[in-house]
Symmetry: C2
Subunit: 513 residues, 2 copies
């Protein structure tokens, strides 16, 4: 499929505005992140609306691809989308004690509407457990109504003090799944099912390896009995909580009176779950793969898969070369990247860049946007019946410029893209694994997390909130999760790295976004 | 594709709750509408949030199909999606004089956030011309940056006094296109292009015929130079404004200082457009096709295309019949309804209803949900190698129950669905045409619009706002639009139905939602 101009929205913001260089990661990692987001034209701070951002077309196209992939998986597991009100009566938030404690400080409040002061203020949803709990109580009356499996794609608002594009903004876009079940076992199975979907999505689509685990009590969602999470490794060694799946127990069922008559006739509260991922994933994507030249994107989430750059010196060459470019673009646009058995097609998107700019400026432009394949085509290539192909990032399978016979381009491009997807995951996993450590000594721990330093550290912990708080206070590192089976080192008892008290297994510690 | 339980969300809300009958249209049209929406499980009033609704899974699935169809058309015409902040600084709204006059009475205002009173309040976007104008001013500097073609799928809020599910709610979902151009001509071409897309979508996808026209000054979007619209005919003779496309001139360009250097080097304000449709379309869909038995859906927007109802008397029959149902469902689910040349597939969605209910209760259930095809299958049909097929609404091509050889089911189902789509459009057009009148006499006009009566009336109008206001005051009927060429009777001069003054052509008058 032909792209419709992604990333060419505002030329004034690219080649013609000099000095927009990308700081290296080594020099200043946070600045590098900002530079990559800006130069790839993904988003910009709204400024006039505190802590908000504008998601620009190229960034939004990535989010749309994330949505499509996840939505397909949610529906395949029996969930249905619905839409609940943006505004929540303020009193709803207070009904669940932990919930109000967690969210009250971050609420935006509507006090006036239609020219009048409201009798009861509304808050803009920071999350929708309360308002959805209210409707569940109207919809559920019998065990036959269960399970109730609902998801919502929506905007939410949390008034944060320190914000950062995609990673933490006052308004963000997300999906929030909300389900109700007849038994705790069924709810727990749902929590694990959705965590599995998040984990598989992160790895197979985002090419971002994650550690699956359980949050400690202090990091739990406000109102949950247990929070499961996936944690991703960013290139500065920090962790990104990339998705969470909550066992809500009967907490919201009790707060909103969601009761049902069981098969045996007893009146019981439902067991609920909620789970969500947000536009923060785009930030995680940037920080997992990008390099000092700018954005790097896995093909499954790239708005443009291939850019074709015509090379010519005069009008006659231009005509011939462009004609060939159109032919290549058409052939490439008919490549279906969908996996075997997929019910929908996933067309390769290609763009010809025929702007009046030097080829070098165009290379630079698309490199910073992370387009996986660059194709150059000039008169000499035409004569030889070949094209010059280069992947955005070298991989063991394909390094630098390669000349491919035109007749083989379609097969080569498809194979290269699929291999590139795998190569990015492998490279990210290798970075994470190489930099993951096991620490057993507090001085070593302090050195590891000195200053802004961070990495993934598997350490013994005595299980106490006091120790957890002491570690955080002294180093800013936090317990990211207690790993699920198969994640991290095999469980074995040891001594807490901080207190020396007994510990049943290692937990994952890192600084976090 | 197998459906995942749409419309089976809450059995307690259907068969088991007696007395939820559908009022006839003749008896009480507004009540009929509410009953159809409730019985099809499309949405319900939020109640705890003033004027808001919950869009339930079956209703949201229709909205998703509307979104997919429109989004494809927007992208094919070069538009890109983006996302702008929900909150707008209150001062932004006041920058364009007409705009603030139109929207100020309907604003919801955020005065507190993060536990503190805000220095400047924010309003929840009622529409986004102002905040998007602000960003356009940052993105546009040269003619090379134009046209800028952006669309946003979002929620908006307008504090309305009288609300009605889908048709008018304080919060609603919509898309808003915003574009900037170098010349007025280009902007006008965009305005017309998008009106054409809306019109073609309404007719070919929603099977809802529309009149394309231009709003009078009093019905214009607050801040627009000209508003183009599509108006649809509801079964009670009222009009529904189903989509609008605005020529904003340079109004917002001047208010937000969106300037560019033209090719000749002059500094000029951009010419802008905006255009939108909302979840109100779902209400229009309901009121265009549904009947006294409940919802009727055109196949292109139906979440479920076919339901299979097994008929059996004992466990042995059940086993054999269900096995055959699964076989039929699989075959039907492999039907691609996409039009020739479509880049994506549009799978037929089928559901087997094996709930422990009488077949009659199931017929009733799916009829009220507007599923186009009902298939019954019992032991006798199995013996004869046939199935019993019935369309939700009789059409000239297919009336009542018909027996189809199983071997022909796939071809028959596909052909029937495509014919049904066309038949619904034809039937709706016939209703509109039959009930559209030309009036030239004020007494006749008064009789036509007496009480709650309405229809589509082509009348001469003298072009003055005073006459327009007098007509509205006396009859509640309004000028829906001045028709575009080819819409309504051929233009010919005449005398205003109210004032008798000269008129160049007839305009469309009706009461409206």
């Amino acid at each position: 499929m032909f792209a419709t101009g992604f990333g060419m929205l505002a030329p004034a913001m690219t080649e013609e505005r000099k000095g927009d260089k990308i700081t290296t990661r080594a020099e200043d990692y946070p600045q590098w992140y900002q530079d990559v987001v800006r130069e790839a034209d993904l988003a910009e701070p709204a400024k006039v609306v505190k802590g908000c951002m504008v998601i620009k077309p190229y960034g939004y196209a990535i989010w749309e691809k994330i949505q499509r992939e996840l939505d397909t998986r949610f529906k395949a597991t029996g969930h249905q989308n619905a839409y609940f009100p943006l505004l929540v009566p303020q009193s709803f938030i207070t009904r669940e004690a932990q919930h109000v404690e967690g969210f009250a400080p971050e609420l935006a409040v509507v006090t006036h509407a239609g020219g009048e002061k409201l009798e009861e203020p509304y808050v803009i949803r920071p999350t929708s457990e309360t308002i959805i709990g209210h409707f569940f109580s109207k919809w559920v009356s019998s065990w036959r109504d269960l399970p109730l499996l609902v998801n919502q794609w929506a905007n939410v608002m949390r008034w944060e003090l320190r914000t950062r594009l995609f990673l933490r903004t006052t308004e963000f876009l997300w999906q929030e799944g909300h389900t109700a079940h007849a038994t705790h076992d069924e709810a727990l199975a749902e929590v694990r099912r959705m965590l599995d979907i998040y984990g598989a999505f992160a790895e197979s689509v985002m090419a971002m390896p994650v550690i699956r685990g359980i949050k400690t009590a202090s990091e739990r969602f406000a109102g949950a009995v247990e929070t499961f999470c996936i944690e991703a490794f960013m290139q500065d060694g920090k962790a990104l909580q990339a998705g969470t799946s909550h066992d809500l127990g009967q907490n919201f069922g009790k707060a909103f009176d969601v009761k049902f008559q069981s098969e045996s006739g007893a009146l019981e509260y439902v067991w609920q779950t909620s789970w969500g991922v947000s536009t923060r994933l785009v930030g995680g994507l940037v920080m997992t793969h990008s390099d000092d030249a700018g954005l790097v994107l896995p093909p499954r989430l790239a708005p443009i898969h291939a850019v074709i750059i015509p090379i010519y010196k005069n009008p006659d060459e231009r005509t011939r070369v462009l004609e060939a470019c159109e032919r290549l673009a058409k052939a490439l646009g008919d490549i279906d990247l969908a996996q075997d058995g997929a019910r929908q097609r996933d067309w390769l998107t290609v763009q010809i860049d025929d702007r009046d700019l030097r080829p070098g400026a165009k290379f630079y432009h698309w490199e910073r946007r992370g387009v996986p394949i660059r194709i150059e085509l000039g008169p000499k290539d035409l004569e030889k019946g070949q094209v010059c192909l280069k992947m955005r990032v070298d991989t063991p399978a394909a390094t630098g410029k390669q000349f491919v016979p035109e007749a083989e381009l379609v097969a080569t491009a498809r194979a290269r893209l699929l291999a590139y997807q795998d190569a990015l995951l492998l490279a990210a996993a290798e970075r994470m694994n190489t930099r993951t450590v096991q620490l057993d000594n507090w001085d070593e721990f302090l050195a590891t997390f000195a200053g802004e330093n961070s990495t993934f550290a598997w350490c013994h912990w005595d299980g106490s909130a006091a120790t957890e708080a002491a570690i955080k206070a002294e180093t800013k590192a936090t317990i990211r999760c207690v790993p699920l089976p198969g994640q991290g080192p095999a469980p074995a008892p040891g001594r807490c790295i901080k207190s020396g008290a007994p510990s049943p297994q290692r937990v994952l510690i890192a600084k976090a976004y």
